[in-house]
Symmetry: C2
Subunit: 390 residues, 2 copies
């Protein structure tokens, strides 16, 4: 054995990860043991002495539960120190190499206070966002500026109409980057000005959220420039710039604006029930831990194919207790329509940001946006949502 | 119609994306049309006038080929301008929302010179790396410092042994972040010094590549500090820090060191044949476009489950023509062993970096590492690899 027996100063605190192992239950223990090694030392376990690396660094199987005919849920814990208390390394331990193993799905994780204390999470969260926007109890309303191809002036005109109608959150479509026909700076300046002008006129508090989608070298400068131009938040795609880059923007006190997270490029994590990461974990818990004040996801019944259960799990993960990390707002979208507002609020409850995009453009935009506002106010319910944890 | 008819100055240049649509071939055209819209305007197509947005911005179906009983390959082209000539937005157009659609797999993309000119790709690539390391024709050898839990002094001792034996690339294990028992700065300083000391002694040119795994705010500073401490390159996990953050590090002239990319957290893109992104696209072409000089992947026959075909597609994507973007080196690893070197070289050819980790520690590390070096030199073949494109 060439690896010296090692003594480590560790707290004894551990965090929990839960994996579904799909396949023969008789192989589950061996597979769980392999995960304990793969996610930490990634080294032949038989070459490790009976030391603190074996006792503390290698993951530990806490329980194996059969949850289906060919599905065993493995509860594994890791020493908090393995995460370095930093998001990229936490994700490495939770699912880095594991993502490359067949038929393993990360279905949950739980961090002790000693780790959660290192994560600020959403700067505003659900409550802070409501306070900032002056909305006490009704659902928030969100929409997107599109289609790609319009110029800054046209997008700004659209933003002005939407703000006039009282839509709370007016975001760039995630595909508006820095195209020649609507450069980032021009677009942000024009759209922010149009929203502010409408607010001045109506007494409203609508905000404009430009998309920050690289290049990496310019992210912080773009965020600052957008803030100076009057942006009220940002749309971020952690699937493209990384969860930790979103976390860094959320943590930046010089920026300090709300963040709306978009699931673009992250769909492959949820597309198979036998691999990847559970919907609520990747689009709820991780978004929130990484600083999203709102998490967009494609709702059931739209252009995409998320089930009601998947959507409920995302909304629940946005809201459930997570130490001092603030709850964030689920933002279901992806083909939502005006006639569905009542049903969506019944399902998601009031603590939600309803995202309706293209459907507002069928007919007169101002009228439709006003109907959205009116419907949300009328259909807001004091009653709890239909979904668990809502 | 509220969207004004729009005139756009576009070049007419287009880039190509190829998607496999799994399911009823009779629905393939409608699904391909939906992708053309979803990836660009994300807006009801019937509300778009007969204008330049319709003609140029919406994706265009170039061909639909039935490639299996329930599999249609859709060749779709997009105007180069939609990508804003930037990586995050290119990924958004290629697969952003598409990742959230069921049973769609991105199996290829091709960029015209007008786009490739905006991507430097690998700073060194296969040839530049060989020149830098003074290795003309034999395969490169790589290994990892581990297990997690060892202190900086112990890891440095290990690095010194490996450099003494003549291993070319000595990287941090991807799980070595900034844990209390081996702080980033201490580890990098100690390991770089040990490798330089061994080089001085042997006349070798081994390099040490620390992992740069966040936090985002410190990435560039860490890279610079590591370079000053004598690091000869970096290990990067684009699945965690984002492809564009890797691209930015590769493009940074003040850093300018080789980059080895690690597939951690990216496995979910390849885990289903009916969703996600083809192995060669995500672990070959995208790694290379985003500046990786070497791309690590779990080889067939190891702890993971990649097929021979998948591994061949990655190696091919690292090497095939891509305008002026340099070829990068495939780096198969993940449970490789000394007795397999001959077989691996037969399969991958000489233009490869063989990554052997844990197996070097079975017995005496120095002896084993020397045996690796000796085997690679002895088994190097002038003949082409068995795989296509190799």
């Amino acid at each position: 054995v060439t690896i010296p027996a090692t003594t480590l100063a560790v707290s004894g605190d551990r965090f929990a990860a839960t994996y579904d192992l799909i396949g023969d239950p008789g192989e589950a223990r061996a597979r769980a043991e392999a995960i304990c090694v793969e996610q930490t030392i990634e080294f032949p376990a038989d070459l490790i002495a009976d030391d603190d690396i074996r006792r503390h660094v290698i993951g530990r199987i806490e329980a194996l539960d059969v949850v289906g005919p060919a599905r065993v849920r493995a509860h594994i814990s890791y020493a908090v120190e393995t995460s370095a208390f930093q998001l990229p390394q936490l994700l490495t331990v939770l699912f880095g190499n594991c993502s490359l193993l067949p038929r393993v799905r990360l279905v949950g994780f739980e961090l002790p206070p000693s780790m959660l204390g290192h994560f600020r999470g959403p700067r505003y969260g659900s409550e802070g966002l409501r306070e900032r926007l002056g909305i006490t109890d009704r659902p928030l309303m969100a929409t997107a500026l599109k289609p790609m191809g319009l110029g800054a002036t046209q997008l700004a005109a659209m933003a002005g109409v939407l703000a006039t109608a009282g839509i709370d959150l007016i975001k760039d479509d995630q595909g508006l980057a820095d195209q020649p026909w609507a450069r980032f700076e021009d677009r942000v300046r024009a759209c922010a000005a149009a929203v502010h002008e409408a607010n001045d006129r109506t007494g409203g508090r609508a905000v404009y959220l430009p998309v920050l989608n690289g290049p990496t070298e310019e992210l912080v400068a773009r965020a600052q420039a957008a803030k100076e131009a009057g942006a009220g938040g940002f749309l971020i795609l952690p699937g493209l710039i990384g969860f930790d880059a979103m976390r860094a923007l959320a943590d930046d006190d010089l920026i300090g604006l709300p963040i709306m997270a978009h699931p673009g490029f992250l769909g492959s994590f949820v597309s198979s029930e036998d691999a990847g990461i559970e919907h609520g974990v990747v689009l709820g818990a991780l978004m929130r831990l990484a600083g999203a004040d709102l998490s967009i996801f494609p709702s059931y019944g739209g252009r995409f194919s998320f089930s009601r259960d998947a959507c409920a799990s995302i909304a629940e993960a946005c809201r459930q207790p997570m130490g001092l990390v603030r709850p964030c707002l689920p933002a279901p979208g992806g083909g939502m329509t005006l006639p569905r507002i009542g049903e969506l609020l019944d399902f998601y409850g009031n603590d939600v940001a309803l995202l309706i995009g293209g459907d507002l453009h069928r007919g007169d935009l101002l009228d439709n946006a006003r109907r959205m506002r009116e419907a949300v106010e009328r259909l807001s319910t004091a009653q709890p949502a239909a979904i668990a944890g809502g």
